[in-house]
């Protein structure tokens, strides 16, 4: 048994849920979290992202948009993400990881999220008391 913890973009939640169902795993727990990733050292990449983000809504020039975008990119601000926790059998791990990667990858090069695979000792279904692989 493994626990897959995947941190994904908020607007990819629907796609991720659908991908999980398609991969044969319907059960998961999702939590709204705040987070930040590795500091991006590549200045040109940051410059490019900043330009795209600022161009998203050119009519909105108030409310410190530029400051906010800068803080997003230099890492002083945490941004919202959805964290999925999925319990799977050992042999399904790579399939699920692949499915999550496929639907969550974007053209932005950064910020698509991370997937962690953790060992888990036991799982118990409350309704029947089954434990181990039978409980998943």
């Amino acid at each position: 048994m493994k626990e897959i913890v995947a941190v994904v973009r908020m607007n990819k939640v629907g796609a991720t849920k659908k991908a999980l169902v398609d991969a044969g795993i319907a059960g998961f727990t999702a939590v709204k979290v705040m987070g930040r990733g590795k500091l991006v050292k590549d200045a040109s990449l940051i410059e490019e992202r900043k330009k795209t983000l600022l161009a998203l809504n050119p009519h909105n020039t108030s409310c410190g948009k530029e400051k906010m975008v800068t803080e997003f990119l230099d890492g002083t601000r945490l941004f919202p993400r959805r964290m999925f926790t999925i319990l799977v059998h050992d042999d399904e791990v790579s399939k699920i990881v692949e499915a999550i990667i496929q639907v969550n990858r974007t053209e932005n090069k950064v910020g698509d999220g991370k997937i962690f695979v953790l060992p888990i000792m036991d799982a118990i279904r409350v309704r029947t008391g089954e434990s181990g692989d039978a409980a998943l």
């Binding site: 705040m34 945490l78 990667i101 953790l118």
Partner: protein, 108 residues
């Protein structure tokens, strides 16, 4: 690789994240949680508060950085005057695999 989950006071979150970033541990996931500890919550008169708000900070780090990260959390999440009940707990667990979605690479 290991996963460090630190449950700390919400008011310590910002200083802790700042110190972790300065020490090179920039990436983190933060969740607002409620919970209770060994003291069974806080009792004031007949009222028991057992859903005390805390902040859960999750960090995925290489094995050799474990002591550094735990040291930072212990130093900056502890209340002044040698600590107090409710300062939090740190849990450490192992990670089998890490995948980065944007690049498809494995590892931290």
């Amino acid at each position: 690789m290991i996963m460090v989950r630190a449950i700390v006071r919400p008011e310590k979150k910002d200083v802790l994240l700042g110190e972790l970033s300065d020490a090179g541990f920039h990436a983190a996931t933060v969740v607002e949680v409620v919970g209770r500890g060994k003291q069974k919550g806080i009792q004031i008169g007949d009222l028991i508060y057992d859903e005390i708000p805390k902040t859960l900070i999750m960090l995925a780090i290489p094995d050799e950085d474990k002591d550094d990260v735990i040291g930072i959390v212990l130093k900056y999440a502890r209340s002044s005057g040698g600590g107090a009940f409710g300062d939090g707990k740190i849990f450490v667990s192992s990670i089998d695999e890490v995948h980065t979605v944007s690049s498809g690479k494995t590892g931290l």
